[in-house]
Structure formats: C-alpha cells, structure tokens
C-alpha cells in the first residue's frame, strides 16, 4: 500500500518537496544543536523546558483526539463518521510521531534515549508516557493498516481487530492523562499542581484535534473527490463546541481557585502570563490573543447559524486551534517556571534555531499526514487520475 504515497502529480510533489526543504533546515539546525548543546536554545537554568516540550504536550492532545471519531463510529455505530474515521486515525499517527520527535530533540543525550526502556522506572511519569505513546502509535498503525487493507480487498475488517479498536479508546484517554500527570504531580511547581489539569488537557484536546480534522477534511475535499459528508462535519463541529465550552469552563475553575484563594505562589504564575512580572511580559500579548480567539470561537460555535455555515465554521476552527495552541503550546509549560521556586523572573523565548527545529518537526508531521491521507484516498478511489 505504501507505494501509493510515492506516486502523484506535480502539485503533490511540489508540496512534498517544499516540506522536505523545511525538514532539511530543521535537521541541519538539530545537527548544530547536537554539536553545540542545548545552549543554542532560549532555555536556561531557570526555564529548563520550553518550546519543544510545549509542542509535545499540545500534539499529544491532537493524537488523543482521534478517539472523538473512533468512539462514535465503532462503539455507537455512527455511520456518518464512516469516511472520516480513518483520517482521524492517520492524523493520530502523524501527531504521535511529532510528539516523539519533539521529546527526542529536547534530550541532552539523545543517543541514550533507550535508557528509558533499559532501566524502566515505574515511579517516573516520563516512563509511562513513553510506554503510552509508543503503544498508541502501534495501535493506530495496526488499526489503520488492517482496516484499510481489508477495504482494498473489498472484505469486511477481520473480527480480531474490533477489540484492538476498543482498546485504543481508553488508550487515547491515557496518553493525555499521563502527559498531564507529567506536570501535575510536582510539589515544586504550584502552577501545575492542579487536579483539573488532566480533564482540562482532554477538553482542549477534544476541541483542537477535531477542529484540525475539520480543516484537513475540507482541504482534502478541495484537492480530491473525497467528501467527508455534511453530517460528519456537523457532528465534528458539535464535538468541537462542547469540548471548547468544557475547556473554557475548566480554565475559569482554575482561575477562580488560584485568584480567589489569593495564595501568592498560585497567583504569581497567572500574573506573569497575563500581565507580566517585573517588566517581563513576553507571553502576555499571546495569552490575551488566546483569550480573544477563544471568545470568538465560542460565539461562532454556539450560534447554530454560524456553526452550520462552512465559512464561519472554518474561522471558528482556526480560532479554536490557534487559541489552544497558544495556551498549551506556548504558555502552559513556560509559566510553570516563571517565577522560579526562588522567586526569580527569567525571560524565555525560543531562538531562531529552536524555532527552525520545531518547524521542521511540524513539517515532518505534515509530510506524514499527507502521505498517509494519500494512501487512504487512493485505496478508496477518491483521487482523480493525473
């Protein structure tokens, strides 16, 4: 089946080659980082995790969100998701690969990464995250390969795949829960020490992931004969709406607890995020943009008129995705470190090579998603002959 990703028209190759160029630039910067050390990033003694780990955290959510199409389709036999489910699973594969790459480039000693499995440590949430992500990748590869293969031969999927698919549902929840636990169990970091973190991660994942899936499905519809169907898009929009409402509610709950209690070590991180501390306000404009985008998205999504209009739905989906990317992919991780446990306010912003490496990984994800979508669409005969 894989050969189907290796043939395509001029536009397909132009797109793939431009992605390869971005990947190449990222790889070159990573080689530079490998030889100089992580000193070429904006990270420092006080802000030890930044852009890479934040992207990883955000993308775990995108990966987990496949469950939002898998669950209705397989558990509730929701036929409208028949065409789009495979796209969700393939998107999950690409997202998990990006997660792994972001972890990999963040390591000080990447050559030793297998120590995680050579010296397994159940007390470490990072060990469990590695297990959960690896397992989830494997599950989605097996599921999409087997179901697509059966479809190509014109057979129904084999019976043994059903329990595997059912297993992938709690597994998806687990990857984002464990990722939240990576942060939420640390006495040293009051900003993350909150029981709502895992639920909030899941809510934001189930909003941002399906929003991305809607956008991707509409792009695919433009470049091929594939049509996800109006009903599928509508159902996904409903899911995005509920999840985004839940996410905003969880954020409000979080803000209430921190601000009403007034405990300085809880308040100070929010103050840093939205107002800045000691003149250090790099993230404040971003966080306000995230808040405004969330409001815009909610207005468009909650209003049935604008939710069912495709144009405004696209705007809403972009707003959801951008708002949550800023929140999780920029603010959440860095704010845990500022102020530091010793009260120090340290500036962090990613450097150019750090951004180039990150961009390269995003391009790699897009490359994987394009190739996998192409295979799926070819199998289903949705691609016009060139």
């Amino acid at each position: 089946m894989f050969e189907k990703a290796l043939s395509g028209g001029r536009r397909y190759w132009a797109w793939m080659v431009s992605l390869l160029v971005v990947i190449g630039v990222g790889a070159a910067c990573w080689y530079w980082q490998l030889s100089e050390g992580l000193t070429i990033t904006g990270l420092s003694r006080d802000v030890v995790w930044g852009f890479y780990i934040a992207q990883f955290t955000f993308l775990v959510g995108v990966a987990a969100s496949a469950v939002m199409v898998v669950l209705p389709y397989y558990l509730h036999d929701y036929r409208a998701f028949g065409k789009i489910t495979i796209l969700g699973e393939l998107l999950a594969i690409a997202a998990v690969i990006m997660c792994m790459l972001f972890i990999f480039v963040d390591m000080g000693m990447p050559a030793r990464i297998l120590n995680i499995f050579l010296h397994p440590t159940p007390s470490s949430m990072m060990f469990w995250d590695a297990v959960a992500l690896g397992g989830y990748l494997l599950l989605n590869i097996v599921i999409s390969r087997v179901t697509l293969g059966a479809e190509r031969r014109g057979d129904p999927p084999p019976a043994w795949i059903t329990p595997v698919i059912v297993l992938s549902i709690p597994w998806a929840i687990s990857i984002h829960t464990v990722t939240a636990f990576l942060y939420a169990g640390l006495a040293a970091r009051p900003f993350w020490l909150t029981a709502i973190m895992a639920p909030r991660f899941l809510a934001s994942a189930f909003a941002s992931g399906p929003a991305l899936l809607i956008l991707l499905a509409l792009v695919v519809r433009r470049v091929s004969d594939f049509d996800p169907g109006r009903q599928a898009i509508r159902a996904l929009a409903t899911i995005v709406t509920y999840a985004m409402v839940a996410n905003v509610f969880f954020v409000a709950v979080e803000l209430y607890t921190a601000l009403y209690s007034g405990i300085p070590e809880h308040v100070s991180h929010f103050a840093y995020l939205f107002m800045g501390l000691d003149g250090e306000a790099t993230l404040a404009p971003w966080m306000w943009a995230s808040a405004v985008l969330a409001v815009v998205a909610l207005v468009l999504l909650l209003n049935p008129g604008s939710r069912s209009s495709e144009t405004s739905l696209v705007v809403a989906c972009v707003a959801v995705f951008a708002s949550l990317w800023i929140d999780k992919g920029l603010g959440m991780v860095v704010a845990g470190f500022v102020p530091s446990p010793l009260g120090r306010v340290v500036h962090y912003s990613p450097t150019a090579p750090e951004l180039a490496i990150g961009l390269g990984i995003w391009a790699a994800g897009l490359l994987v998603v394009t190739g996998l979508f192409k295979i799926a669409l070819e199998v289903r005969g949705h691609l016009r002959r060139p």
């Binding site: 992580l38 000193t39 003694r45 390591m107 000080g108 030793r112 990464i113 010296h119 530091s340």
Partner: protein
C-alpha cells in the same frame, strides 16, 4: 460445582489477583510522599542518615566564608565557571540572601543580623527526594545506606525532569560543553559532558576516603557541621537538639537534610567556647 459457587470463586480469585497486582503497582510507583503520619519519629534506622547543619550565627555579612566554601567545592568537583553568563550557569553550592533562601517564610520585620545575609544553598539530600522519583532512567537515586542523593552522569539522558521536580533549584544542566570553562581541572574527579544534569553529592568521594565535604573543610570553626543524624552522639544531633534550626520548604514533604541555625549570634556567648565569641560577634552584628 454449582454455578453460583463457581461464580463466587471466580470473583474471589480475581479479587485476590487484583489486590496483589494493585499493591505491587502501588509499591512500584513508590512512596506517595507527603503524609505527615508517615514521618518516622527517628530517621529511618539501620544505616546512617548524613545531614548538614549550617550555623548562620557564625557567617558574616561580607560573604567571605561563603565564597571560600563555594570555591572549595567547585574547584574540587570541576564545576565550570561561566562568569556573568547566567544562562549556562552550573552550581553545586551557591549563596542567596537569607530572605530569598527562605522565601516562603515571607519575613517582614526580620532580625537585623539576618537581613540580606548571604546564605549557602546546596542539594538538600532529601529523605523523600522528588527528583529521584521522576527520573525515567534511575540516573539519580537516594543511597539507602546514608541518604545521599546520587547522580550517574553516564546514564542521564538529559531530560531535565529532575530539575523540574526539585523545589530548591539545586540541580544544573550542562547546556554546553563545560570543559573549556574549567580554570584548573582536577584529575581526581571526573569532568562532565554537555547534555547531563549535575549537583552536589555531599562529597561522597571524599567521605569514602574518610574525609569531610569540601565546604566543611573550608570552614575553620564549625560554621558548617556534617554528620550522621542516626548517631545520637553526633555533633549534628547535638546542635539540632540545642538550637533552633530551620529547613527550606519543609511543608512540601521532601524532608530536606540541610539545617540552618537561625538563632541570635549573641547566643554564641552562652554556647560556644569563650575564645570564639569576640570575633564571631563582631562579624555577625552589623
């Protein structure tokens, strides 16, 4: 066997397996952490429980002794000096003013001699260390025989999770190659490579040779005292029994093992040999 009995046995068997699995899992995940009830009256028996008492009464405001301790430690352990470059900074022991060291205390009308006093900070070698719990490769661990929190620089993958988990800022990461930044490399202690985490190890290599930690050796008059808390006759136990000593953020349940005596330096007159008093009193009263 009738159906209901078989059903009962199945459920009972499954429950047993579940309970055993559950407790194994809980044991594997490790000591949950902060429950005050679980605090032993005495430090865990058997081995030694090495601890440090920093007698702030004997430290001056000029930071001279503090600097001497830092130099001794960093020289002995090939800790690179990055000068004013805060970003790449590595430190095993360093100084902050008293108020930042005990930031959570929010001192308002602080006794004058403590205001802005340079105070030594280092790894607390916690009895319940949060850093070792999070390490995904067991590259850092608490040595059961004496409580020292150790580091394996050959296993560390540089994920920096331990730095994130440490509430004391005691760990440093080698953002770049440290070797060009060593003034006088010591042959009897390993240097590190870029990409790994490092920190104070209570000078376990000196202890193994029967010595004292380098910072303790740099002191002349028991300004820092090091010893075994499990030995009731040890100097550290005596100091803690006789003086008011505080620790950094004990409320987090980490059980830090570096203590700071914060009594008024004038009490030195009552507790220390007469010869020490005049010098110490002059130094400490500003």
């Amino acid at each position: 066997m009738d159906a209901s009995r078989r059903g009962f046995l199945t459920i009972a068997g499954l429950s047993l397996v579940g309970a055993a699995g559950g407790s194994t899992l809980i044991a594997a995940i490790g000591e949950p952490g902060t429950a005050v009830e679980s605090l032993p009256a005495e430090p865990p028996g058997g081995g030694r429980r090495l601890a440090m008492v920093i007698d702030l009464r004997k430290f001056g405001h000029d930071g001279e002794l503090v600097e001497r301790c830092i130099r001794a430690c960093h020289r002995a352990h090939n800790v690179p000096d990055f000068g004013a470059d805060r970003k790449n900074e590595i430190k095993w022991i360093w100084a902050e003013d008293f108020e930042s060291t005990f930031r959570d205390e929010e001192f308002r009308y602080l006794r004058r001699d403590l205001q802005g006093k340079p105070t030594l900070l280092l790894c607390n070698h916690c009895d319940n260390p949060p850093c070792t719990r999070v390490c995904p490769t067991k590259a850092t661990w608490r040595r059961p025989a004496d409580g020292i929190v150790m580091m394996d620089w050959h296993r560390c993958i540089g994920c920096r999770y331990c730095i994130v988990a440490c509430p004391y800022g005691s760990r440093s990461f080698n953002w770049t190659d440290p070797r060009p930044h060593l003034e006088s490399p010591q042959a009897d202690f390993p240097t590190r490579t870029r990409g790994v985490v490092e920190k104070c190890t209570f000078c376990e290599e000196l202890l193994a040779r029967g010595g004292q930690p380098a910072c303790v050796e740099a002191c002349a008059d028991d300004e820092i005292v090091f010893g075994d808390l499990n030995d009731p006759g040890s100097k550290v136990r005596r100091l803690l029994a006789e003086h008011l000593a505080i620790r950094r953020q004990p409320g987090l349940g980490t059980r830090p093992e570096v203590y700071y005596i914060v009594e008024d330096p004038r009490t030195l007159a009552e507790t220390a040999p007469a010869a020490v008093v005049p010098g110490a009193a002059e130094n400490d009263h500003v």
